[in-house]
Assembly symmetry: C2
Homo-oligomer: 119 residues x 2
């Protein structure tokens, strides 16, 4: 039962698009992820997904508009909504979603993570 | 379906210990709260509670130790664990917990909020 320092967590890994588990709130996972470049268009059939930008800049592309997140801004992608995160430069993101959510949603590819490393 | 800027949200209200709802992720509420001074010893019987410090300093007193949060640090109070938040100076906190959680937990007093204002 200790506090978590986000900066220390982000300094402890370097791979992109691979969310790490840093906490659990009931059946929700709190994760951190470093992103750079384009991810993949996908959606989550049954789960909303929260992105809180900690550092850098992240564009969350939706089919009808782009959401540009700067540090201190968050966006919740509703369940079923197609989206593709794009990070022009490296960015640090805090994520929150129900346990069991797969990062690539309805898509399976080389970036799919089904079990998240706890750091 | 818009992004949320935390700083703007914190600037939009001034009362202490009264969490405001800024987002919903499935059945979880995302809230912001300004705190100053001592709250009240309480626990939440069935829900974990996440505190992420955005600004200032917050001490979360537990019965056996104090957790001191600086900006960029978070702490998850497990269900059933007695705690009392104390803010020596004004602090801004992002909170995450299951919908329906009452801020004073098992205690009811003048600070109890059962329905959170959406901002």
């Amino acid at each position: 039962m200790d506090k978590v320092n986000l900066k220390e967590k982000f300094e402890s890994f370097s791979d992109y698009w691979s969310p790490k588990l840093i906490g659990e709130v009931d059946d929700f996972d709190v994760k951190v992820v470093k992103s750079k470049g384009e991810f993949v268009w996908h959606h989550h059939e049954n789960e909303d997904e929260l992105f809180l930008l900690i550092k850098g800049k992240l564009v969350i592309k939706l089919r009808d508009k782009d959401i540009t997140l700067n540090p201190g801004e968050m966006f919740i992608v509703p369940k079923g909504v197609e989206h593709m995160p794009v990070a022009v430069e490296e960015c640090h993101v805090l994520m929150l979603e129900r346990r069991g959510v797969v990062n690539t949603g309805n898509v399976r590819n080389e970036r799919t993570v089904e079990t998240y490393q706890k750091i």
